[in-house]
Amino acid sequence: MSANDTTETDDLTLVQAVRDGLYGEMDRDDEVIVMGEDVGKNGGVFRATEGLYEEFGNDRVIDTPLAESGIVGTAIGMAAYGLKPVPEIQFMGFIYPAFDQIVSHAARIRTRSRGRFTCPMVVRAPYGGGIRAPEHHSESKEAFFVHEPGLKVVVPSTPRDAKGLLAASIRDPDPVVFLEPKLIYRAFRGDVPTEPYTTPLGEAAVRREGSDVSVFTWGAMAQQTVEAADQLAGEIDVEVVDLRTLSPLDTDAIVESFKKTGRAAVVHEAPKTGGLAGEITATIQEEALLYQEAPIKRITGFDTPFPLYALEDYYLPEPARIKDGIREVVEF
């Protein structure tokens, strides 16, 4: 079921939509449980689980000890035993104690057991920069997880998608790393259907149609990119494609847009080297080389550790940098 215009809606921020999505899935399916650090009584440090503890009790909304490997490792066991755990990692920068569990087990248990055991688990984590936070609170390391076969990686950029993609991730029979761009947790509101619905995984969304150049992006950068595109209107007609699911990538949407424009840029916060822009570029070269009219531009974070916040605004791509990159592609 997908949302249509006649459905009842609420005006929610992205983080409220995440909470609404969790609520809806927990309400319709007793097997869905939320676990993690401070997700219970505190309602999550970003309030993404607010009220769930009061509604569903401490057997389904579980404050765990401070141990990410423990959180994800036990969630894998629970998932293999028929529950649908949704562990929260407080910030993406603290997911690494669980990295072994995610890549060595969540991603492989289906393959390893020839389908006997599966891992219907969604690991949620806020990610990305721009909130004046301490060290390790600002990175974007989605590429680590995209690189791991057997994991899906999903990033919403609007409240409506946040709820629909989260529901689809929870109902998906395989493990999903669900990354929430915290810079835009409360940056704007949007209409979100009140009833549960799913937004399909693996489908990109065109946020702005254009004919001169395709810009592929996701998460908090989607907003920056649309802003840059709007500023270029009249000069350059920019198409903005929000990938939404980073694994599996929507190759068809990428190629279709590129065939139309023949020019492309990719915008992401993550460092350039080994970042997803390289994968998207290579995919275009494989699928649509003969349509290509200019080198594909990567507008990304630098190959440096994310700086403390006094300098973070220099690190993050913003409209000026994005516009320059787009112009370079178009003027080639």
């Binding site: 141990a67 490997s69 936070a133 006094a310 300098l311 690190y315 320059d324």
Partner: protein, 367 residues
């Protein structure tokens, strides 16, 4: 040494809640100047904390983790170290690292989002560790390396009650036991890991008892009694430096205390704990207790306290002034210290970044 060899649930205590020496307790051998300095540093820490929180409220600083209530544990333990012994902090030990000559201005600079505040050049202090418990194996490694170099330094690592749930806590302490490193693992058990209470963190009765599994001493101390903290840390330092026969060098100290304020300025503790609980712990305020003791001993009086109050207010005001008037970090700093030699790819990115700044100017880029 006997202070350390006791049941992990018999807490070492010296001062009672009113600052009187408890029956049978012995006050550690500290001279007047040291006692007054400990008191001054605790007062300084408290005042610094209050000012830092208000700087954050005024938008002059980012997220800050306050430490009010925890000064006794920090100052008492740091004072038990020799000048060249090391501190491996987490992120809340503003008063402990001050004892290693890390200026308040540096601490502010770090929390104002400037890496240079984390450099602490030449001081035996490791940079703040934000990912919980990750500094514990480093502390073991530092101590191990020092032992392999035949030095006689001691390495004191701070972490919280929540940190004891992480794998790194186990691995760091296990290595310390196996390789008999000159280590002190100092757990600031402030009862809460953000909203998660100590009982929810571990089913162990105490944190100190976990040391038994690693084969060395674990001791619980009243972490809001700076004299008791000093005493157990002092004994642990002695043992790490000059172990008695086959006695293992490492010690786990559980300093039982309370965080009076929020976890950080981004946290609202009223959601998860009662004011009543906070008030009960405030009756054990480490500063009040030491002050009462020092007054009773005739070491402090109103006049000296007033002088100290004036001095610390000036010192904190000067530190804020210094931190805020430090020139902002050069954006080129993003590209520095990534490697010893800058690879060409990073150099190219830096050059492109400088061209971008030239084209647009910082104002447009940062708007």
């Amino acid at each position: 040494m006997s202070t350390l060899q006791r049941d992990p649930d018999t807490r070492v205590e010296i001062l009672d809640e009113d600052g009187r020496v408890r029956d049978g307790a012995t006050v550690p051998d500290l001279d007047e100047a040291q006692l007054v300095e400990m008191y001054r540093e605790m007062r300084l820490g408290r005042h610094f904390d209050q000012r830092a929180v208000s700087l954050q409220r005024q938008g002059r600083m980012g997220t800050f983790p306050p430490m009010s209530g925890q000064e006794g544990a920090q100052v008492g333990s740091a004072h038990a170290l020799r000048n060249d012994d090391w501190i491996i902090p987490s992120y809340r030990e503003h008063a402990a690292v001050y004892g290693k000559d890390v200026g308040l201005a540096e601490t502010l600079q770090y929390w104002m989002g400037d890496e240079r505040g984390n450099q602490m050049d030449g001081k035996p202090v490791f940079p703040a560790a934000v990912p919980i418990a990750t500094q514990i194996p480093h502390a073991t490694g530092l101590a191990w390396a020092s032992k392999l170099k035949d030095e006689d330094r001691v390495f004191l690592c701070y972490f919280g009650d929540g940190a004891t749930s992480e794998g790194d806590f186990h691995e760091g302490l296990n290595f310390a036991g196996v390789f008999d490193t000159p280590s002190i693992f100092f757990c600031n058990n402030n009862q809460w890991a953000i909203s998660v209470p100590r009982e929810r963190q571990t089913a162990s009765q105490t944190i100190a008892q976990k040391a038994t599994a690693y084969g060395f001493d674990g001791v619980q101390v009243d972490g809001m009694d700076p004299l008791a903290v000093y005493k157990v840390t002092r004994d642990a330092v002695e043992k790490a430096r000059n172990p008695d026969g086959d006695a293992p060098r490492p010690t786990l100290i559980e300093a039982v205390q309370y965080r009076f304020g929020a976890h950080t300025t981004a946290d609202d503790p009223s959601v998860y704990r009662d004011d009543e609980e906070v008030e009960q712990w405030k009756d054990r305020d480490p500063i009040d207790r030491l002050e009462k003791y020092l007054r009773a001993e005739g070491i402090l009086d109103d006049e000296r306290i007033e002088t100290i109050t004036d001095e610390i207010e000036d010192e904190v005001a000067e530190a804020i002034e210094a931190a805020e008037s430090t020139e902002r970090p050069d954006p080129a700093g993003i590209f520095q210290h990534v490697f010893d030699q800058q690879p060409a790819r990073i150099a190219n990115q830096q050059a492109a970044f400088e061209r971008l700044r030239d084209r647009h100017g910082d104002e447009e880029l940062l708007e």
